[in-house]
Symmetry: C2
Subunit: 300 residues, 2 copies
Amino acid sequence: MFYIIGLGLCDEKDVTIRGLEAIKGSSRIYLEAYTSILMVQKEKLEVFYEKPLILADRDMVETESDEILANADKEDVSLLVVGDPFGKLTLDLAGQQTHTDIILRARALGIPIRVIHNASIMNAVGVCGLQLYNFGQTVSLVFFTDTWKPDSFYDRIKENTDLGLHTLVLLDIKVKEQSEENLARGRKIYEPPRYMSIRQAVSQLIEIESLRQTGTLSPDTTLAVALSRVGGGNDNQGIVAGTLTDLVNHPEDAFGDPLHSLVIVGKRLHHLEVEYAQEFAVDLERWRNTAKQVYGCALD
Amino acid sequence: MFYIIGLGLCDEKDVTIRGLEAIKGSSRIYLEAYTSILMVQKEKLEVFYEKPLILADRDMVETESDEILANADKEDVSLLVVGDPFGKLTLDLAGQQTHTDIILRARALGIPIRVIHNASIMNAVGVCGLQLYNFGQTVSLVFFTDTWKPDSFYDRIKENTDLGLHTLVLLDIKVKEQSEENLARGRKIYEPPRYMSIRQAVSQLIEIESLRQTGTLSPDTTLAVALSRVGGGNDNQGIVAGTLTDLVNHPEDAFGDPLHSLVIVGKRLHHLEVEYAQEFAVDLERWRNTAKQVYGCALD
């Protein structure tokens, strides 16, 4: 059996009992390297599972899938991934695509497959108080460079906001990046991982709005919620709510360590969502007043 | 501490290690009665957790929250819910609303709260091969009666399909229903649980399309995917893909036991999604031809 096991959002204790049993029964266990974004190290997972883990980076899952799948028709092999096997962390990681490929390959080889689900940011985002059925499509935001500013996310956000829906924005991660020089010289030397910050994300959103000028986003009247380390417990998880201006002015270190995500609040906002999320507001009065006056929420 | 713990989608083994530890350390554990839709009985959960569970129906979670929360500032109390605490099963269950209320109440009482996430249908639906970032808003479909056919879901599906997005349709569940006679006489006698079938769901969709006639849904050319018992493993989980007509003609018992959900496929369909899901097609040729000719997918 080939198991693809979601590890959930935080640390070694977020695996399910079913997932842990599959891990313990596996003869080989691959840990997808994006798990550098899990809030726990490989070694800690190995101690907890009492099993050695083989680090599998993106290239390996894509190009060496036959090696990963070897003998999985006779013995159990597991691939561990952050969140849910079908959840998504960022577009850049293209996690789902990758897993689709290896599952299609396993099928072609006649290997039985079992997916063990877990939480992903796409459902856990509800913890901020915005209701999941008010969310439209999820978008990803990649790091802008001086010469490359892909902005198709803006059209997606506009589609959602035109319908009054919230948008979950997943922020870019660079985990195995080469400098231009190293890339040119073919040196497999990688830069340290980079995670897009809330401030950078909001700045990029405002930059594209100022180019497009459709009124989809407004720094002072568009409400948003920033989430950090969702699932990490009250002492670790961070939620900050406010206008885009509030978030871009919020101290960078107050958001804490990655992973960060952002929600753009849509106009179908319900007053209960406002009241639930106001606990996280940078400025309670501005949060409520904007919800009332700009979003038309029925608040006292 | 007041814990709200997601149990995941299937049985007693889908709880996370973190969730299980919280359960074991709790002095009182409430099991939300919607868990009748979990594929496991309360007794089996109690044996597995080695803890007695208190059944809490919807009324109790809504109206007796103070009883549930009693002493939670001094000892640990857990509320167990199917899926993720912020996921949604059907609109009718209004799970999130309920949990929002009890969390707001706990906050007001100064009780610390910890949410333990798990998989929900809203991310696990990716198992059918349709990519999560191609989904728009999620809708719920309630049982029609002769006199009551609420159809606002249709507008939501239209909004999604106009954008080319997939729609996850959650199907109604009636778990604590009274007959009109029992209701009139104030007798607290409840009907057996009812779960909307795929066939009924598709029939209701087609019924509203034939009234509205916007061309949002077409029995013979709209593709859809029916999901049963997601997370239940290969021997249990069911996925069936085809046109709406394919699904409505599919033998009722072939979908198996509840819970069922439905995905309406949007026009942004990618050829890899088609190829992944074709394994589940009622009629492979029709699935591929419709994807190619109606959806414009680049298939060989």
